[in-house]
Symmetry: C2
Subunit: 372 residues, 2 copies
């Protein structure tokens, strides 16, 4: 018999009786989805049915439940795993997932980050210090513009040249034309300046084109790929992480995932969504909105994400948290203090004030971070 995976939730309930009943309800909802007296005896009742392991009181009206599930219920695959973790129960008010422990059996069945912190550092040749990743934008400009900006970023000392998550199939710069042009520019500038900057195009296209687009990016010599699991599904992240032939590092972007964390009583804790689940899906770098930027994440929430990305107790190898927004040369020292060295700092739109001097702006950021 295999070990079970465990999901910890914070639930609202008036008293111990209601908390226990809610926990039993969740255990049923996420597996057999039938009334308790209809559950067939034997294998379904003994193994498949979710099991309430413990219910404890956290405070007035707030309880914590740990529910365990059979790896069999998830069938060895990340999408169905997340369906058991939080499919229908995501629709319940006052229920937030605060931890996921895949256990040995499920952990072995799920993908793992292929590169992690050590692998990304090796690929871009940055042994120490924070990594910096300027972002190519805005949408609506031609491939030559992005190629030129990308070369400037490499020259200035970027570790990763990331495409904005909004660059997709715009007619001014279709995916393949753009990826080919930027990859070539990055490779040439790497050769010229003796650098190893990695170019991460933003995955886009129709569902049926994703496989070919990934292959195209690989053959064009992209150094990794940016994926929005909120729109493409975590199964797409897992697909890339598992594909040994492709062997592309994955950076996940939080677009469309906001509602999972914004309301304190629903969804997932920040660290669970932007740390734990990203590792379970096989991401190497997890982008999230930085404190002090245009979004409202607190310093504590950002720290929770960074911790979940990097804890040695997590699934697979530690991965890189990547705070986006609100980064500047002036804030570099603070950011280094907050996140330490093992982080990818996204550099946003203010760099683009003078596109032809972006190399200098990136170099200033590099210096500020190293001096910090």
């Amino acid at each position: 018999m295999s070990d079970r995976f465990r999901v910890t939730c914070r639930i609202r309930a008036a008293d111990a009786g209601e908390a226990a009943a809610r926990a039993e309800g969740i255990a049923r909802e996420q597996t057999v989805e039938i009334p308790r007296d209809v559950v067939p005896p034997g294998h379904v009742e003994d193994e498949i049915l979710g099991r309430v392991e413990e219910v404890t009181r956290l405070g007035p009206g707030i309880w914590q439940a740990v529910i365990s599930y059979s790896p069999e219920s998830a069938g060895g695959e990340i999408t169905q795993f997340l369906n058991v973790v939080f499919g229908n129960s995501s629709i319940q008010q006052g229920l937030r997932v605060t931890a996921i422990d895949p256990g040995r059996t499920m952990g072995a069945a799920l993908p793992r980050p292929r590169f992690g912190i050590a692998g990304i550092r090796r690929l871009c040749g940055r042994d120490r210090g924070g990594l910096i990743a300027p972002v190519l934008k805005p949408m609506g400009l031609p491939p030559e513009y992005f190629a030129r900006i990308a070369a400037g970023c490499v020259r200035g000392g970027a570790d990763i040249v990331k495409e904005d998550h909004g660059l997709a199939g715009q007619p001014t710069a279709p995916f393949r034309t753009r990826v080919a042009a930027v990859a070539r520019a990055v490779a040439e500038e790497n050769a010229r300046s003796g650098r190893q900057a990695l170019y991460f195009p933003n995955l886009s296209g129709r569902a049926e084109e994703i496989g070919d687009n990934l292959q195209f990016a690989k053959e064009a010599r992209a150094g990794g790929i940016t994926v929005m699991p909120g729109l493409f599904g975590f199964g797409t992240v897992a697909r890339i992480a598992r594909d040994a032939g492709l062997s592309l590092p994955v950076m996940t972007h939080p677009a469309f995932l906001g509602p999972y964390v914004l309301a304190p009583d629903n969804g997932f804790d920040h660290g669970t969504l932007f740390g734990t689940i990203q590792r379970l899906a096989g991401a190497d770098i997890s982008v999230f909105p930085n404190v002090g930027g245009r979004f409202g994440f607190t310093a504590a929430e950002c720290r929770q994400i960074a911790a979940a990305c990097r804890t040695p107790e997590g699934h697979g190898m530690p991965i890189l948290p990547s705070p986006g927004g609100g980064m500047s040369a002036e804030r570099a020292a603070d950011m280094r203090t907050m996140y330490g060295e093992d982080a990818v700092f996204l550099l946003g739109g203010s760099l683009l004030k003078e596109p032809d001097r972006i190399d200098e702006a990136v170099a200033r950021m590099r210096d500020a971070l190293d001096a910090g």
Copy 2:
């Protein structure tokens, strides 16, 4: 120059000035994602940059903004369209999308429901009256069990035999073995009893297997497919809707989508998520948690969903709302009054009390609904 698509949001702001600034911020965030003074003049500024069309006061501290976007920004594809509608802005507190108007150009580029209400009625031979769809479960049982239950459902008068969204790749009933067995049982019972019940297996598998699994379901003579866009992405729904060779009706299931509607100030309005967006992605039937079931949707929220599914003013042809949970022979008359005839009523786990008499239970529901 093409017409723009329009996104209506409800935003929190202290006064008119803050509301206008927030709206401008969203228009930028969702497109160029750079400070206003860095936006390149010409095409990007004139076309690509989101445009605030109007900001009106709804009540104390609550405003409505209508923002328009160039179809070019979405590149003619549902995933990037949703990214422009709500990618990064999904991470902002106090911002809820309440309406989406794709406009002519974007509307023509997006998929459309292939079957809609009329098509589904034609396929299952039910000209009038509500449609009923018992659900095959629980996970953990073998294919022969599901085949036997499915045959009973057909005999009892089911229009659609739907698989539970939790049936995936469990080792007791792997996707292909199960789909083949159930499809055969449904076809045989249809032939025997002169019915046209449609079998909707639940799409599952790794991302790279989805195309083959869809093809397998089609060849096995499935009558449609159930998809969870919250886990597989709306691009997967669009992929099926567009595939003329496959030509499979799509029923979408709300698993993992809960947080998008649960908090009143974030995410989407119920009708927008479970009606408008489903049609834009090409779904024919949209499942949502019924009022009075295990989830907390109100009657007004359910009515909003049904209206968005069926309004003739919507994208493509009207589709079938499918309330799940809380259905019983006793409630049939109420449900018919509430939803009218053009709905698919899911029949839940209580039917499974006596699996070998499920035909009688389904027939009772059919009678109750027709008498209602």
